[in-house]
Symmetry: C2
């Protein structure tokens, strides 16, 4: 077992193989039922087997899925994306979030004729080697064309640009908020968002927003639209088709001629069923006011956990937006408390992760959250029993 779904370093209570999912619930192959607070690490946003999405997928499947070319739903989806996301004048579709971030880099490089990238210090932008030094195991290394900054620190972005040489910088990558694995999360500072936008304009680089993790959970458009800050390019995946495999690179007209020079393709990039599912998902998200519902459920969870932590005398930090929460324990440098917590939560029927943020969906009811809070109450008790008071 490999990748982000490997449970082998987690508690023995933590499930690995699944038999069935429905709504906000999942059942493992041993027949145990869980409230899923990981939402398959993001893809599930409206609940598993959401009727409108499944109907659209089934209707398309009856005609065709992988075909000798795209279906008409590809045009419909591109039009919907460019209507919903303010900065987008075009859309290109792929399978992995890593495809989408790499396509944004390709568009930036092809347009600017430059190669360097500036990205957050421990930010994850997919498993591609430009951002992931562990892609080649012991033969891996940081990409010499990637330069790093500290999130929410415009001066550090400027320093990374200078290190690269500003005439070499093709793209500055940002995420909607800081959600690096193994770190407390950090909401974006509006001054940082405006500052990095101004810097990109000054040096002629593309501002690329990686929406793979957070897209459509914070806003029914690009995540910095409420701040009035538009990226040039953005990468989307995970939740855009409620679990069907799809990714999208979106861009403004300035990058259209550049992306047309790029050769990139995949055997399943034109699959029609995920595109039909995405059209239904994006409509359902707004029609069902999904962001507000995730925020309400996330607030109930955050307040409940804060109350329990105080009752059990555990010093914790809850960080990031309530829709994409993160929980850490004070002094827990080796994640021992978090591991105990998540193992016990799993033993009591809730899937949460010790090192990765969690995800809310619009299918999480008050009853689901209360069920999770029963599990976390037991989990706090176990942490307190194993590690004593702080």
């Amino acid at each position: 077992m490999y990748g982000h779904l490997s449970a082998r370093r987690l508690s023995a209570h933590y499930p690995q193989f699944y038999a069935r999912v429905q709504g906000a619930r999942a059942w493992d192959v041993d027949g145990r039922e869980f409230v899923d607070m990981m939402c398959s690490f993001g893809p599930m946003i409206l609940g598993y087997k959401h009727e409108r999405v499944e109907q659209a997928a089934a209707d398309q499947r009856q005609n065709g899925d992988t075909q000798p070319g795209p279906g008409a739903c590809m045009v419909e989806l591109a039009e919907l994306f460019t209507e919903r996301v303010d900065h987008a004048d075009w859309a290109m579709f792929a399978k992995n979030g890593s495809d989408a971030t790499r396509l944004c880099l390709s568009a930036a490089r092809a347009t600017t004729g430059r190669r360097s990238v500036v990205a957050g210090e421990t930010a994850y932008h997919g498993w591609s080697s430009w951002s992931n030094r562990y892609a080649d195991g012991k033969a891996g290394r940081p990409d010499p064309e990637t330069f790093r900054y500290i999130y929410n620190d415009v001066d550090s972005v400027r320093a990374a640009v200078e290190q690269a040489g500003q005439e070499n910088v093709a793209a500055v990558f940002v995420s909607p908020f800081r959600h690096d694995a193994g770190h407390d999360q950090e909401l974006v500072d509006a001054g940082f968002a405006r500052g990095v936008r101004a810097l990109c304009d000054e040096i002629g680089a593309a501002l690329v927003m990686d929406e793979v993790r957070a897209g459509f959970r914070l806003h029914h458009g690009s995540s910095w639209e409420p701040l009035g800050v538009q990226p040039d390019l953005s990468a989307w995946s995970k939740a855009i088709a409620n679990g069907y495999p799809l990714a999208a690179a979106l861009g403004s007209n300035r990058f259209r001629a550049g992306i047309e020079q790029v050769f990139a393709t995949g055997s399943f990039w034109y699959q029609a069923v995920p595109m039909a599912a995405a059209v239904a998902t994006i409509h359902a998200l707004r029609d069902e006011d999904a962001v507000a519902r995730m925020r309400a459920a996330g607030t109930r969870l955050r307040e409940g956990i804060a109350r329990q932590a105080a009752e059990h005398d555990c010093a914790v930090n809850q960080s990031g937006p309530v829709q994409i929460p993160n929980l850490s324990f004070a002094g827990d440098t080796e994640y021992q408390r978090a591991m105990t917590f998540c193992g016990e939560a799993a033993a009591h029927g809730a899937i949460v992760h010790p090192r990765h943020n969690w995800f809310l969906s619009s299918a999480h009811t008050d009853a689901d959250i209360d069920r999770v809070l029963e599990a976390t109450d037991a989990a706090f008790r176990a942490v307190r029993a194993s590690f004593g008071p702080d």
Copy 2:
């Protein structure tokens, strides 16, 4: 429109958007019916909507597809792959063919601690920048760690290894036969296969077989098994799930510890429906003797085209295995004859491509092939009318 499915540089008769597929037939959005000789560029191998595959997919879908972890079918599929493919001791699953080739490179680098790659001169191993200089448009460049050889020329492989420095070579990539786009195809020479295997053993590099294009169309296992030559690692995608999005990297035990060091993952890599479809596909391929059926249908097509070319006095070259055929016209350096041919074939109800090899499936009946031959007869007539006798 982008990538390998873009029809914008082809004849106006060539279809771009599809409404429906069934068996070996496809209908475009204008209601025209075609025999599909591209098989969605490979993924369709048993026919669209193959009953056994669709039933397996539907059964799995009823339980779950993208879930918080893999389903039991992942274990079943890994066991089936390692049973069917002689060199494979383990399997890792992803979405794109490019993912699978890149994972093989990762496994080779992580195991050997070396970084250089040796690959065929115009070979396509996916859109990743290690093998595709057009990934970044005008800012693109050949990867400085990739060295090139000429297919079927062991001396040129040795020369590329020397250029890289043999102590730096992590992997030598091969394809089952030469199927570079824009070239006549070339079957593998058994001496080349054995020579490159011996050279890899001598220098301690991995021999990586890229089965993405040809896998399971030539043999119910790795494509060089009939020659008695085993690679160390192999990359699979396209046809392995009859159109469902899936890729696989397979490897021998020597590379197990290496691949375990690699960090690589994707949001949809654990999707259960494509894995269930792959299990059904791999069983159906052997149970229905698919390779023999594709060979028979491909032979009928090749013989028919040869007859027509002679009748119309057109000098053509048909190359590669009959299951993955390629047609080129003598002196057709700008592909004008091939473009006319494919446009007319489309106008008469058959989808074939001017610059890319075609694919047979086990669903192509004699009647389908005869229907294609009616279209190609008209196409040869049009070529002759436009370009005169050779």
